[in-house]
């Protein structure tokens, strides 16, 4: 047999990465909606703020990486 499973593993990453990007945006969007409409519980407020900050930082880091990538080009 002359199978080439390596190429398939490369190809599938296009789809998986696309879902992952959507997932990352949804994650941030979900947190935004939560913070807009969710009832503010003072005990949880700190945790939520921290989670939102973390999500924002993740997206910022990803965006920075893309900018750097474009600059490098």
């Amino acid at each position: 047999m002359y199978l080439d499973p390596g190429f398939a593993s490369m190809l599938i990453q296009i789809i998986i990465a696309a879902f992952a990007v959507c997932g990352a945006y949804l994650f941030v969007f979900k947190n935004k909606v939560k913070s807009l409409f969710g009832r503010k519980n003072p005990e949880n407020a700190e945790q939520e703020a921290a989670a939102e900050a973390e999500a924002k930082a993740k997206v910022a880091a990803l965006k920075a990486a893309v900018r750097k990538e474009e600059e490098d080009k």
Partner: protein, 453 residues
């Protein structure tokens, strides 16, 4: 002497010099190594993800050699088919986090082999310092397929099908084939399994014959942004994987032993006093369960391996070791069928004895399982154990013991020699009995023995 298993890597080789593992880096890897040291080595070792090393003044003997390094030594090399679910999961997360950190510095982890991860004081570290390469613009993760075979597939099979399915790794040295994982997993595992196993398997089938078509497109591009998002998503998937509702025979063994707390304590003192006679640097505990007695061997500053047949016992022990950072390695092992040597020429991955000769072996409350449940002649057990280590602390559990009575309740008693005298006679052929003491409040006896030369 060159380590046999490092024959695949053109970047360097692993050598053993006077019992110390060193790594030769070849000239072709000089740039990658320098980039690693400049940008990644510090943060990765600070987080405990990559093994520390020092550069040696001696230059490699081979012409293509650039540098020799000496990594922090791993007390006992272990393999993924010997790990519990938690160990495999933590090893997977270590691999992903290293690749993610490398991407930030425009580098990648080019290998995602589970064999490149080892445990140091209960925590997984990458031992292959030469696994890094430069990130190529738009390139997908070259090690993605390997990561799925070595980690994603066995973890999902263990979590959603059966905890014992990690044993497939013993057959498939380069990880569980994705199409096999897909068949076994069926529809379990949700969207994560759909992406990384099912679609992955379908894609592999569809493109299996691509090589035969002339001029087939062989390049795939994904942006770095997408690549990073994919790794982040994979980290979240692996973090969420859990063993659900798994109860096994031995999981809560110590709640159901026929030891009273007083008897357990006196057994502990007795074992500790025997260990003190040997003062071992390296110890193996066969049938270690949660490692209660294995820990006694650490008192002298050495390392220990706690082998057990039960995956839940190993899992519990691992979580305890991991949070305490003990120099103890819990591993899965069936004493009646221990890990063999596997791989090319049967020399890539060693059998248990080929990796270390311990100073001491503990076999507490395990002989009856071997001799009665598995019908192994005691003389043969003694012969095997004597070939592994110099000293042995062994507990003999007689037929009067309630645990043995349970074992004999459902089978014919074809073990006329299973008595204290019979045991001593069988083991005396291979061992010299140094000390012998009754465990108080029980009918069991503890022995300290030394193997005959």
């Amino acid at each position: 002497m060159k380590e046999f298993s490092s024959f695949r890597d053109p970047s360097g080789a692993v050598l053993v010099q006077d019992g110390v593992v060193v790594r030769q880096i070849n000239c072709c890897y000089q740039k990658q190594y320098e980039a690693l040291m400049e940008k990644l080595y510090g943060p990765l070792t600070a987080k405990g993800l990559l093994v520390c090393h020092k550069e040696l003044p001696a230059k490699p003997e081979e012409e293509n050699g650039f540098l020799m390094i000496q990594p922090e030594q791993i007390p006992y090399i272990s393999y993924p088919y010997e790990w519990s679910f938690g160990q495999l999961k933590d090893a997977a997360l270590t691999t992903l986090r290293i690749h993610r950190a490398a991407l930030d510095q425009n580098m990648i982890l080019k290998d995602a082999s589970a064999y490149n991860i080892q445990f140091l004081k209960g925590r997984p570290v990458l031992i292959d310092t030469l696994s890094f390469d430069f990130y190529q613009e738009g390139a997908p993760w070259i090690a993605y397929g390997q990561f799925c075979r070595h980690f994603m597939a066995p973890l999902m099979l263990m979590a959603y099908r059966d905890i014992r399915l990690n044993q497939l790794l013993r057959i498939y040295i380069d990880g569980i084939p994705i199409d096999l994982a897909d068949r076994l997993l069926g529809r379990k595992g949700g969207f994560a399994a759909l992406q990384h196993i099912h679609w992955h398997a379908q894609s592999s089938m569809k493109h299996a014959q691509d090589g035969k078509q002339p001029g087939a497109v062989r390049t795939v591009r994904i942006s770095k942004f997408s690549h990073m998002a994919m790794i982040d998503s994979m980290i979240r998937i692996v973090e969420k994987l859990q063993l659900k509702g798994v109860e096994t025979e031995w999981g809560d063994y110590y709640a159901h032993t026929n030891y009273t707390e007083d008897a357990a304590q006196s057994k502990e003192q007795l074992v500790a006093s025997f260990i003190n006679e040997v003062r071992p640097a390296t110890t193996w505990d066969f049938g270690a369960n949660d490692g209660r007695y294995t820990r006694l061997a650490l008192a002298h500053g050495g390392s220990a391996v706690a082998f057990d047949i039960d995956p839940i016992a190993v899992e519990r022990n691992y979580h305890a070791v991991n949070s305490a950072g003990e120099n103890l390695l819990p591993l899965l092992l069936d004493l009646t069928n221990p890990s063999p040597a596997i791989g090319f020429a049967n020399r890539e991955r060693r059998d248990i004895a080929g990796r270390q000769t311990p100073d001491l072996i503990l076999m507490l409350a395990v002989i009856h399982h071997l001799a009665i449940s598995n019908n192994l002649p005691m003389e043969k057990i003694g012969e095997w154990v004597a070939s592994l280590a110099k000293h042995l602390i062994i507990e003999f559990v007689p037929k009067e013991d309630s645990q043995v009575k349970t074992l004999l309740a459902t089978r014919d008693d074809i073990f006329p020699d299973y008595t204290e005298q019979g045991f001593e006679a069988a083991f005396s052929r291979h061992f010299e009995i140094l000390q012998k003491s009754r465990v108080s409040e029980t009918c069991r006896t503890l022995y300290l023995m030394r193997a005959k030369a």
